[in-house]
Amino acid sequence: MAVIQVERKPLTFAERTYIPQIIGGLKTTLKHFFAPTVTLQYPEERPEIPKGYRGVPTLVKDPHGREKCVSCQLCEFVCPPKAIRITPGEIPAESSSVHVEKGPQAFDIDMLRCIYCGLCQEVCPEEAIFLQNQFSMSGYTRAEMVNNKARLYELGGTLPDQHFKWDKKKAAEEHGNAH
């Protein structure tokens, strides 16, 4: 194998003093004194969450306060890490949304399992589950890391509704039809 000898160039005088390099470095540092800050004082300061961000999955209510989930269990079925566990149940007769018939008795999402893929949101036929802006989950025990139904609604809040399909159904049921 051929060996190529490379002649190393000797340093100039200026280079040997290191001064130009130090000044160059200080210039870069000085520039950042006046440039806008790029870091955040987390956790006091929080980043702006971009649109379509996939944070912690949450359950939402419609603007009338009705829980949108009807416990069809499609999210439980589609969830790749099997993080979701639902106990379906019948909505009691005295409830104002008895016409929806079915709702979750229990709804648990194990955040130690969740991979934030968003398939639950994609599959939901009732637009009841959304991955929203909440991105940090922490706890001291495994049990704390399982979000139950109350916690999921607390995280989710209310989102606008495009359809109000169950309200329309109820109106039709009450109105009946010409017959």
Partner: protein
């Protein structure tokens, strides 16, 4: 080319495939034989054909013949006999095969017809699949994926019909989902013999309802839920419990009577959710009584027996009793035990030199799928030689022996001795070793209680009233603190000084096949899911209590029930 038909066979051509089918077969069944699916709602193989859903429309034609000479007309283009296609679609369910019949199930006309039917069916459908229990096993859902248009052209208001109607104690009706196929009406009228359902109103206002002052409360009402192709009729017990796609299906046998109805246990993660019938044309067709569907609840019942002690400690206690009372032991076997358990029970009786008695349970049969003999496996005890005569309802001989002081220990395999006619005083005179699943007066009075498993937690076979041996499989894991009956029995056999036996069904069967002549050629794993008829000639003279039921005629007029 049309093949010459064999006697009683008719050759038809379905989508270009020729097949010989029995005369009287309709097009849906003939197509099924060549793996062609003809979608349908109202047609059911075990019900009368009404042809009102119009989903099974097919295109049909007959080979052309010259009207005058009856000579085949040959198509000059192909050199084959010309087919005269009927220019309008026909219903497959109502069309019986005839020689040379040609069927198209995939033509443009058929597809268009099916799409038209689907669109009309979906016009007033509430589309509430997310809350509908039928989702996942709904014909409307399945066929909407093949023939639905994906969006609705219907801009008017949908019909409103009664929802959440309680048709009876076990059935909930949602009329908006009904496609008016009338299967439930035909079932109630023709099979269950209780004509309680019917349609009222006309056109798109037609509504399924119960006759005034009647309820859908007969013991076969849940079959209407099974055959409902959509989510109109749903089971109140299963309502909103679990989506069907999560459930694992395990073949099992109904234990409520000697009919041996084939059924499926649906479970998820060790919990049972429902029992449905499984088709067996020789036993139960596609039906099952409601009472048998509730039996799964015994698995998670509060009064299940369980033991904190190890099985070996319990068996040692029993062995001690066997030793101290050797020669004065009686054994009460069970017509609810599986064939394998009865085989080991017999081994135990031989090892203990004990007398064996069975307890019969009889009640009036319903002439359909519940027979007079409410034990599922009395014939298994005959086949395995556990008993040689039919059991009686009361243990009179055992009671007399206890009173005479001849018996010191009684081993009961799941039989409540007090219910079988022994008094508490008699029971107090003896030591009882009880193998059972649930607490009862006998288990409370027992010296040694060995908790066993229910039929849903173990493998085994039953011999039904036709002497058909049918297997059931383990649907859910056994209760913690209880043991498989076979494990307990084989340990007891050893404790009693008998030979070591296998304690698992597959391992045990070679021994059973070797020792029981009628079962000589059978192995558990080779048993077909629909069961196998045994040679019953050896027991033909016995006065069995069963009267006539579906697919069963008693060999001789039934002896009047002794119960």
């Amino acid at each position: 080319m049309i093949q010459p038909a064999k006697p009683d066979l008719v050759t038809v051509n379905i989508d270009g495939k020729e097949i010989a089918v029995p005369k009287g077969t309709n097009v849906i069944e003939a197509a099924r034989l060549v793996n062609v699916d003809v979608p349908h709602y109202c047609y059911h193989p075990k019900l009368a054909v009404v042809g009102n859903c119009r989903m099974c429309l097919i295109e049909m034609g007959m080979p052309a013949v010259d009207p005058a000479t009856k000579a085949p007309v040959i198509d000059p283009a192909t050199g084959k006999q010309k087919i005269n296609w009927i220019p309008r679609p026909q219903i497959g369910c109502g069309t019986n095969v005839s020689p040379g019949l040609h069927i198209k199930t995939t033509s443009a006309m058929v597809k268009e017809a099916r799409e038209g039917v689907m669109e009309f069916l979906l016009i007033n459908h509430p589309l509430d699949c997310p809350i509908c229990d039928q989702a996942g096993e709904c014909k409307l859902q399945e066929q909407a994926t093949s023939y639905g248009r994906g969006y609705s052209r219907f801009v008017e208001q949908k019909n409103v019909k009664p929802k959440r109607t309680q048709l009876g104690p076990r059935v909930t009706l949602d009329d908006e989902r009904c496609v008016l196929c009338s299967r439930c009406i035909r079932f109630s009228k023709d099979i269950a013999g209780e004509d309680v359902l019917g349609f009222v109103d006309r056109g798109s206002y037609s509504t399924l309802t119960c006759h005034p002052n009647r309820k859908l409360d007969h013991n076969y009402s849940l079959n209407t839920v099974d055959i409902c192709p959509v989510g109109a009729l749903t089971s109140t017990d299963f309502r909103f419990k679990m989506r069907v796609w999560f459930l694992k299906q395990t073949n099992t046998i109904d234990t409520e009577s000697s009919v041996g109805v084939n059924s499926v246990a649906w479970s998820r993660e060790g919990a049972l959710y429902r029992i449905t019938p499984r088709r067996n044309d020789e036993v139960n067709d596609t039906w099952m009584a409601d009472s048998g569907r509730l039996l799964y609840k015994q698995v998670a019942a509060e009064d299940r027996l369980k033991s904190a002690e190890s099985l070996d400690a319990l068996v040692a206690k029993a062995a001690e009793l066997f030793k101290t009372s050797a020669g004065s032991i009686a054994l009460v076997g069970s017509g609810r035990s599986s064939v394998e358990e009865q085989f080991l029970t017999k081994k135990l009786a031989t090892a203990l030199k004990a007398s064996v008695a069975l307890v019969s349970r009889t009640a009036a049969g319903d002439k359909l799928l519940i027979s007079a003999d409410r034990n599922p496996n009395v014939r298994g005890a005959l086949v395995t030689g556990l008993i040689s005569a039919l059991p009686s309802a009361r243990l009179a001989q055992l009671a007399a022996d206890i009173d005479a002081g001849k018996i010191k220990t009684v081993v009961s395999v799941g039989e409540d001795l007090i219910a079988a006619g022994l008094t508490a005083a008699q029971l107090a005179k003896v030591s009882v070793v009880y193998l059972g699943t649930h607490a009862n007066p006998t288990s409370i009075a027992s010296k040694v209680v060995l908790p066993t498993l229910t039929v849903f937690e173990k493998n085994g076979t039953f011999v039904n009233q036709q002497f058909r041996i049918q297997k059931f499989a383990k649907a859910v894991p056994g209760l913690s603190g209880a043991q498989d009956d076979l494990v307990i029995l084989s340990k007891l056999v050893q404790a009693a000084g008998g030979h070591e036996t296998a304690s698992e069904v597959n391992a045990l069967w070679p021994a059973i096949a070797a020792e029981v002549p009628v079962l000589g050629t059978i192995l558990y794993r080779n048993l077909p899911e629909t069961g196998l008829l045994l040679d019953r000639s050896a027991w033909a003279g016995l006065p069995f209590v069963e009267g006539e039921t579906l697919h069963y005629k008693p060999a001789q007029p039934a002896a009047t029930a002794t119960a």
